[in-house]
Symmetry: C2
Subunit: 138 residues, 2 copies
DNA sequence: TCCATAAATAGAAATCATTTCTGTTTATGG
DNA sequence: CCATAAACAGAAATGATTTCTATTTATGGA
């Protein structure tokens, strides 16, 4: 939590109850959440809350690297907590419970080299999302 | 083209001018396209065309593996031609011209093994999207 | 070749996620 | 404290996507 608040301060964002509640939610749930999921969960804890606020906060958090936007099958916005701000990211998403786990190893260099050699292109970033069933759901 | 028509037949879909035009477009452009892009392009060749038809065709083609849905930065639906129907896919998308090139090599097994060993999870599929600048745009 | 029939389609309308706008409230540095 | 810009709620607008319905069309079998 303190790490996240530091990121906010570093980017001159104010520490507000809404922002803290959103961080808290991502820290505790560790799942990928849609804006409305976040809205429903955060609204319980606060007296008033607007959905546009959630959209704005999620977008801000995404820009400063507190959360990360994931791929979703239905095209809706989906976010998950993200501990590192890299040009690349690997997530494992449980198809059953939606839990998201970050994967630190990266062996994409081989593929990148292949592309740069065979397609003559310059690879600047990549995103890998793996899906399956997590240990608890098995 | 014939390959695609065969896929349609195999799935008991009728061969219609709209469907052929959409296939034609993906085969010739080789780019990732949004539904409205497809609509604009196909409408030129045909006397009448509804946007819902495009959405439906894109969804159908996606289900039977003629095209593939990609990640898009703005959350809109984006599709690209797809020659193989695998549980996994690797695309290289040019950030400048939007051209999409399929990448055949796969070294994700290492990451999958890592996940299965360290997270105790079962990996069922993955999607890797690499972005950069293609040879022509460099 | 012709027909019956289910599939495909156009166009209008509805839906719904997301964004914009505006007036009010709030966090924070000084 | 206070001034001030940032953050916010709530209403409204937007725009992508989906649904609905009446009409057209592709196609397997006569
Ligand atoms: Mn990587
Ligand atoms: Mn692979
Ligand atoms: Zn799970
Ligand atoms: Zn290019």
């Amino acid at each position: 939590m303190d790490d996240c608040l530091k990121i906010l301060k570093d980017h001159k964002f104010k520490i507000t109850p809404k922002r803290k509640a959103v961080i808290e939610l991502f820290l505790t749930s560790r799942k990928c959440l849609k804006p409305y999921d976040v809205y429903k969960a955060v609204r319980k804890r606060l007296d008033s809350l607007g959905l546009p606020t959630i959209y704005r906060i999620l977008d801000e958090f995404c820009r400063i690297g507190i959360i990360k936007r994931l791929q979703s099958d239905d095209g809706q916005l989906v976010y998950a907590f993200c501990s590192s701000q890299k040009k690349h990211s690997h997530y494992f998403v449980c198809l059953n419970c939606n839990k998201v786990q970050e994967v630190s190893v990266c062996n994409i260099n081989g593929i990148s080299r292949y592309i740069e050699k065979n397609l003559g292109a310059k690879v600047e970033s990549h995103q890998l999302q793996l899906e399956g069933i997590c240990s608890e759901c098995k």
